[in-house]
Symmetry: C2
Subunit: 255 residues, 2 copies
């Protein structure tokens, strides 16, 4: 497929350890894969992590919106793609996709990134040196990713506790993103996860989770969303009474 | 490299989510990778899981011995290899390796497998149909993999508890092997794991761990092995008072 100057793709063969018991890619591994392609794009453009850090900060993800048609299966070879779509002073909007050879899109994901300055520990203007090479479009109004709806005070939820392990930290020296998805969705239980397929997910990261912390993962019981009629669950990751991550998920019956 | 009829290799590029904070492959992912190549060998020989199951049972791993020279790093392309070395009536002995293009061997692993019959839930004679295609050598005396030394009654150990999660189950419908390694080694703590490198590990599986169970992972404090002078740790995975998995690990300072 012909790629635009701001697009980048890699081939990837799905391994059994990226799949759930049904042999399809897990939501956590889907995110690992799309981060993989965006890191390879950055490396190819010579604006990888080291260069970004040399500019006094690092990229931080604030939101993802994940839309799933279906998910690739074990042993399939897929194309992981990404496009640095647009940016303004503070926000960079990026798209990701997973497709097969014929162009069928398994999943489409949008993500919002900010540049966090080391010195101030705050969001700062994105340095030109680390955004220009992406051939992204500078815009006034950046597309928005909807924030998840919070769990209401009177809404019942179930909770599990998870310990953040040493091997949860990946070579980026942060808790690997996949684990947030595992903590969030595991609470729903095998009976639900075996019979339902994730169609859409909005996730918002507010605070980082760190090694050794105990994570409380809350999830509401699946309930029909009044807007689209789909089954919906709401999720929160709480560490020491601090809300670190929120998500909403929409589900259909497994085909 | 020229492969013998009983040998099989695949290429694999190391992803960031297969690596620890130092950017090297984790022990758990190393095992995932070598299982990956043996599954692809079985599929290529048309004696994959479905065919094995149609013969009334399944392959079960009883022991691994892992020897590490060094470990591949993020983005490296490696060759994962396996050889069905030898077998007798009940046991199949297999070797695995991870090497680079020039032939440097990062790790060499041996594994012992038995055929577990579904009906009797016991070890049974390995059916010819699922062993012959490997071109393995039939032998009277099979090489032995040393069993780990148990934690002595008077030996102090530290313990962490881990919940077996839904996404710990992979497309083989068992708890993915990598998690046993994560549970075992995580107990040693970040300070130790950051400064030490695993050189050798013996692991013995006695009972399967299942979804929803709470795992107690015990580890002894690192102590010099009187035989080779290397730092050694002993490990046990206990579920509901049943000893499911044992291991010994030998460590050196990280270079």
């Amino acid at each position: 497929m012909k790629l635009a100057p701001n697009e980048f793709e890699i081939k990837h063969q799905i391994t059994y350890y990226e799949c759930d018991p049904a042999g399809v890619v897990t939501p956590g591994m889907l995110i690992n894969m799309i981060v993989l392609v965006s890191e390879q794009q950055s490396d190819a453009l010579k604006i990888g992590t080291q260069v970004v850090n040399a500019n006094g900060g690092g990229w931080v993800i604030t939101n993802y919106e994940i839309n799933i048609t279906d998910l690739p299966k074990i042993d399939e070879t897929v194309f992981l793609g990404t496009r640095a779509t647009s940016y303004n002073r503070y926000f960079a909007f990026r798209e990701f996709w997973v497709r097969d050879e014929s162009g069928h899109e398994y999943a489409h994901i949008t993500g919002m990134f900010v540049f966090m300055e080391f010195a101030s520990r705050k969001m700062a203007k994105i340095p030109a040196a680390i955004i220009d090479p992406y051939h992204s479009t500078e815009v006034k109004r950046i597309p928005r990713i909807k924030n998840p709806v919070a769990i209401a005070d009177d809404e019942k939820s179930t909770t599990n506790q998870y310990r953040v392990r040493y091997f949860d930290i990946d070579s980026n020296r942060h808790v690997n993103n996949a684990h947030y998805f595992d903590w969030m969705l595991d609470v729903l239980g095998a009976d639900f996860l075996k019979t339902h397929m994730l169609k859409k997910m909005n996730i918002k990261y507010s605070h980082e989770v760190r090694y050794g912390q105990m994570v409380n993962s809350l999830a509401t019981a699946p309930k029909q969303d009044e807007y689209n009629g789909q089954l919906m669950t709401k999720h929160e990751i709480i560490v020491d009474d601090v809300l670190t991550t929120q998500a909403n998920c929409w589900w259909i019956d497994r085909p």
